[in-house]
């Protein structure tokens, strides 16, 4: 059974159709890269998965459980959506770190707030908070940022900020971690450090969906690649095949434009 099963997702904003009949699935421990030109609907798709947008049609299943069904309003209740979001993590193009918190606090804040909902929180408050803190510190260490835990976001470089954002998303142990062009807002010399972190996550079999314009990275790190254009999936398949021997003419054109730049 796949971790994620997306069935016939459709999304329109007013009259503009942004996503049409999007279906794909993702196996545990696999990395999926989504490529496509600007405006093809990649961000919208990730936002739908994270319940920041509500699809007009389709279903989203995680581990066989229907998290979203456009035809079933019961799956869209605000109170439950919050819990469902925890199946997914999202790393934004623009990091969106909380500026008033240190790197470590950014990583631990949501976990602390969630822990308050645990029935045993009052009794074990200290131990629970200590554990969250230790985990946060360990995550920052995995990101190569153990010496930056006490820094505020504005004291960090873009690459460091994005790595804190990745640690923040990992802290809640999502089933599927989504990245929306994680290196697009970075200076070229800083993209490497972020890509390296994502690469190591892939080696550790983190289930991921990565929207990216880095074709070589997608080819090397992803297991599957989806090419989107105009709101539809034009081609999907094993990473190497889609990027090195695309079957569709549109994919070929897109990739050749990339290799020219």
């Amino acid at each position: 059974m796949p971790v994620l099963d997306v069935q016939h997702i459709e999304k329109h904003f007013g009259a503009t159709r942004v996503l049409e009949d999007i279906s794909f699935s993702l196996e545990q421990g696999q990395a999926l890269a989504i490529i496509g030109s600007s405006g093809s609907g990649k961000t919208t798709l990730l936002r739908c998965l994270n319940f920041l947008e509500t699809p007009n049609q389709g279903k989203i299943l995680v581990n066989g459980e229907t998290l979203f069904d456009a035809d079933d309003p019961a799956t869209q209740r605000e109170s439950e959506v919050r819990k469902k979001r925890l199946h997914f993590g999202l790393v934004f193009q623009s990091f969106n770190l909380f500026p008033q918190y240190t790197a470590l606090e950014n990583v631990t804040l949501a976990g602390e707030l969630l822990a308050k909902e645990r029935p045993d929180f009052k009794q074990n408050k200290r131990a629970i908070l200590e554990e969250i803190r230790t985990q946060g510190q360990a995550l920052l260490e995995r990101m190569g940022l153990s010496d930056r835990a006490g820094h505020y976001p504005h004291q960090l470089s873009g690459g460091q900020q994005q790595r804190v954002a990745i640690a923040r998303a990992l802290a809640l142990k999502p089933d599927i971690l989504c990245f929306d062009e994680p290196t697009s807002a970075l200076d070229p010399e800083l993209t490497g450090e972020v890509l390296k972190v994502i690469r190591s996550l892939a080696q550790q079999k983190t289930t991921m969906i990565i929207v990216t314009h880095e074709m070589a990275f997608a080819r090397d790190v992803a297991d599957q690649v989806i090419f989107m254009d105009g709101g539809v999936i034009v081609e999907q398949g094993p990473a190497r095949q889609v990027i090195e021997q695309p079957r569709e003419e549109r994919t070929r054109q897109f990739l050749s434009r990339y290799s020219q730049n």
Binding site: N50, R85, S94, N96, L113, Y152
Partner: protein, 212 residues
């Protein structure tokens, strides 16, 4: 002489400060309510509140004071409000409208990505507001609020037109006795009050400087 004038003016200045503090006490929360009105998803409500804010910000405060004080009596034969009450009511409405614009700017100035980051991390809306957005809003509104507070201290002088016995009125009362300097001397009181406010706001801004 200086001593007795100072004491008389101080008496008036207490009234000035009362007006200042009462205005803040009511206008700060009311302004927040109005700002939610101007950002409401309900279009009719939004337009009503926006129109009120437009009228209040588009007309002179001095005129508003006179309308609130004389208006009910002249137009509807209602009893006059006590002078000080009329002054407080006018100031609260006027300043709430200005504050609402400051709040709106502060709230809308926080990037929507902050809220989305909170949502994606499974936070409740209330948690996002109090733990993520609020401090960023406060940081944004502190400088314009500082300006408004200082303007408010000076605007209190306008209630002279309905003869509230605040410090300007007290200063003017010496003119009948052939003394003009007590009126000019009132400036010192305003300067001291605004000096204190400037220091206070400078201190708050500095406290919030640890993040950007």
């Amino acid at each position: 002489m200086l001593m007795s004038v100072s004491l008389t003016l101080l008496e008036g200045f207490v009234v000035t400060l009362e007006l200042f503090l009462l205005t803040l006490l009511f206008a700060l929360p009311l302004g927040l309510v109005l700002s939610f009105g101007t950002m409401s998803r309900c279009a009719p409500l939004r337009w009503v509140v926006k129109t009120v804010v437009w009228i209040v910000r588009g007309t002179p405060l001095m005129l508003q004071i006179m309308v609130v004080f004389y208006g009910p009596g002249l137009m509807f034969d209602l009893p006059l409000l006590p002078r000080f009450t009329a002054a407080v009511v006018t100031f609260v409405i006027n300043y709430a409208c200005y504050f609402s614009e400051i709040y709106r700017g502060g709230i809308q100035g926080v990037p929507v990505g902050q809220q989305e980051a909170g949502l994606v991390l499974g936070m409740k809306r209330g948690q996002i507001f109090f733990k993520v957005t609020l401090l960023q809003v406060i940081k944004r509104i502190v400088p314009p609020m500082g300006n408004e507070f200082i303007t408010l201290v000076k605007d209190t002088a306008l209630v002279r037109v309905i003869s509230v016995y605040e410090i300007i009125w007290m200063g003017e009362s010496y003119i009948k006795k052939g003394m003009i300097w007590p009126l000019f001397y009132t400036a010192v009181f305003y300067l001291v009050a605004n000096g204190v406010l400037t220091l206070l706001f400078g201190w708050i801004e500095k406290k919030l400087n640890y993040f950007k």
